[in-house]
Symmetry: C2
Subunit: 482 residues, 2 copies
């Protein structure tokens, strides 16, 4: 089978599921051997294809370390559901076999009673370790880390360390095994070296001779964005986590960092779209849960947008006198929204990557003021040209595909063109400025800059856009149309 | 220094730069020792703080492997600029020392002449390897991979493989060192095992006894999104890259995967904001480059939005007869845009994560139709209530903070409320459907779904929103206002 013809792994899971189901009935003891070569992620896909009620039997048919692996890759909600449906005697050994970080996650997901029952039934040491992890918020370095790291005393020899590592490696899996941490007698992190560097170290050397002492680290309470930043900046495969006094607690492995980055991005994109971030993937979110996350923001934006009706009402006399002004209302407010949306997504991303800092706000403001004026001049020019062109097409009585195009704007069409053009300069500049500054303001007052969604900015800009439009119109058209 | 007080690494670089500059003048030979403990990423930050013209001297003062490391972490543009400013004799040894994937990247970045000169001056084998990498697009698995992977024949013993690995490890760095690939005599990838598993393997075993045979892999031409998906799904630290015949070419390491994920995400957010993706970080993009990326889409959207002026013109008679209809135009079109923006960002993210597939389009359509109707009912209810409430406030002559609130909509205010309410149901449903289907359509015709930006959807929905509004108005208000 060449890689190109390889079926999609989800399809593979769908193909395998019926066979597994049959084996569960006829010969469950053969399941471990039949599935031995499958990656746990694929085996979890197979498990997701099985009927819910067959899942406990399927997990029971696997050796407990393998079943624990499958649980780690299973969809979070399904995993909680399965564990809640098992007896404590069935669930506890599986949970005890999981990696410490995943174990803490799953106990966060199941209902409190199940979590307590399972915690009481797992070995003392595992329980204490898990309780320590559960103290950290799920999104913090402490919540993401595994405690199963390899640490050696800095005073040991390379040979002693290597033999210790081989023993640990034979004893079972340790997630963060490719990196070895050097600690001093107090447990403080003093150095780091990769397994490769340990292998390559000259015989007879001590760990403190060969370890790097400039160790990138995060503290347990650090946010997952900070963990991602350090991992990405220093190309790490694991970030060590320390307590306030610098003692090694564990490490966040790069697979969890990638998951954290992707979750963070999903949240950002959803917020940017003007809704609350979902807790689960879209396809797995229930209809009403989805509606709730969307309706809230949509209603808030709608209520904000109601001020446009008030603004329009305020200028009703002008609108009645010069109905031609109405025609350009949608064009003008949408231009403000679009330019604001561009600016806000640029700045949100720049802040998220740590590329722009809070203190850069004024540099950004100056830059976006110039950008806004330039973009406004371009759109203003296009808008004014549109008015003039349509009037000329009308004057020449030009037809296109049988339809008359062009539009009669009356003798003051030049003034209308000027009104539309100047308004666009103002609206686009204002939209760009608001869109770029809002993420800074939100971060300053402690909110996620990504909440400065495109619709939010558009709503802020719409009312002001109308005020700018009618103010310009009053100035330009006074004595003629108004 | 406790981690909490640790200064930001950029600040650190700014503090160190003057010292380095002084040393460059007085005692350049002491620079390697002075900077030996710094992570190359931090040393690159220091380099970025130095005056441009001091950079070649700074790199020359470092041992060439260290200088090559610094180059790998240096900002892409600066790196190209520095290499272009060096003589070929200075640049070639540094480039030759870089990791193969970074070497190919940097030769992609510098001007063609410099690239050719450097390629001609580096050792034959390195040159051929680099040229092979340069054949792949920068965003493909082949463009991201390093060729320095550790592969062993599947028929070797664990001891022979381990001693081979130790030799390679002592010989110099290999990026993808934590994973060992098993190949057969034809060079085809047949298995994989981690360095840990090799260390833990029983003595006397052969590689094919202990390696995993179910190897996740990508082909050289695979897109970086596919590479990210496989890495994230299977928690890999490196993804092996093979050719069409399954022969091992190299591997993409997880640090490059993270960079690719973040770049992809930046592009998506920028496209979602309604602009072309930037080539460089925002703060480093020149004013005119930035303007070009923004003005294009903004002008296209503006021209699309011009149809709203035509639509408004088409209904001018109705608007003149019932000017009250004007007041709700911004409210109605923005609601369509906002609901479309929500739907489109939800679906774009779901498609990007591979959670929803192209074939799911009809499931999504049904779901979004129901969501749109429900959200439309909520906003429609709010909108109708607003009209009725303002009329009642006006009737009661209620004042708030000295201002009269409320609004006279005339005797047909109930019909206006019904018009606004029904229109909102239609517009929000339409916006939600268009917003959710557009990413599918774009992917189907081979475009990036993320191009279905919030402003793009809003523009599509605005004209239709106006048509819906006036059609509903004609139906409801015929015989009264119209």
């Amino acid at each position: 089978m060449t890689p190109k013809q390889k079926p999609d792994h989800k399809d593979l899971a769908a193909l395998l599921a019926p066979d597994i189901l049959e084996l569960l009935d006829s010969a469950p003891e053969s399941i471990p051997a039949e599935t031995a070569e499958l990656h746990p992620a694929d085996l979890a896909d197979v498990a997701e294809q099985l009927p819910r009620k067959a899942l406990p039997a399927f997990l029971a048919a696997l050796p407990s370390d393998r079943a624990a692996d499958v649980l780690e890759y299973l969809d979070d909600d399904l995993r909680a559901e399965v564990l809640e449906g098992m007896t404590t005697e069935q669930a506890a050994p599986l949970v005890a076999e999981m990696n410490p970080d995943e174990r803490a996650d799953v106990l966060d997901d199941v209902d409190e009673e199940t979590a307590e029952d399972i915690l009481d039934a797992i070995p003392e040491e595992t329980r204490l370790e898990t309780e320590r992890l559960l103290e950290y918020p799920a999104d913090s370095a402490g919540g993401l880390m595994t405690t199963e790291v390899v640490s050696v005393l800095e005073t040991e020899t390379v040979e002693a360390a290597l033999s210790q590592v081989r023993t640990i490696a034979r004893g079972g899996k340790r997630e963060a095994m490719n990196t070895i941490y050097a600690v001093n007698a107090a447990g403080s992190l003093t150095g780091v070296l990769s397994l490769r560097e340990l292998l390559a170290a000259p015989e007879g050397a001590h760990i403190h001779d060969v370890a790097w002492t400039d160790v990138q680290r995060v503290i347990g309470s650090a946010d997952r964005e900070e963990v991602a930043r350090v991992t990405s900046e220093y190309d790490l495969v694991a970030v060590p986590v320390v307590d306030e006094r610098g003692r090694l607690l564990g490490a966040v492995t790069v697979d969890d960092v990638i998951d954290a980055i992707e979750e963070e991005q999903t949240e950002d994109v959803q917020k940017l779209g003007g809704m609350e971030a979902l807790d689960d993937p879209y396809m797995q979110t229930g209809f009403f849960a989805l509606l709730k996350k969307r309706a809230g923001w949509l209603a808030v934006l709608f209520i904000g947008e109601m001020f446009t009706a008030s603004a329009m009402g305020y200028f009703e006399t002008e609108l009645k006198r010069a109905t031609v002004l109405m025609l350009f209302v949608p064009l003008i407010i949408s231009s403000g929204g679009n330019s604001g949306s561009q600016a806000t997504s640029l700045i949100i991303r720049s802040l998220a990557l740590g590329e722009a800092k809070l203190s850069d706000w004024w540099r950004v403001a100056i830059r976006e003021l110039s950008s806004g004026l330039s973009l406004g001049a371009i759109l203003g020019g296009l808008g004014a040209l549109r008015v003039i062109a349509w009037q000329m097409l009308k004057d020449e009585n030009i037809h296109f595909a049988g339809l008359m195009i062009g539009k009669e704007y009356g003798p003051n069409y030049m003034l209308i063109a000027i009104t539309v053009g100047l308004t666009l300069v103002g609206v686009v500049t204002f939209g760009t400025l608001v869109g770029s500054m809002l993420p800074f303001i939100l971060r300053r007052i402690g909110f996620d800059p990504a909440s400065a969604s495109a619709p939010f900015v558009a709503t802020l800009v719409d009312v002001t856009g109308l005020v700018i439009y009618f103010t310009v119109a009053l100035l330009v058209l006074r004595g003629t149309l108004l």
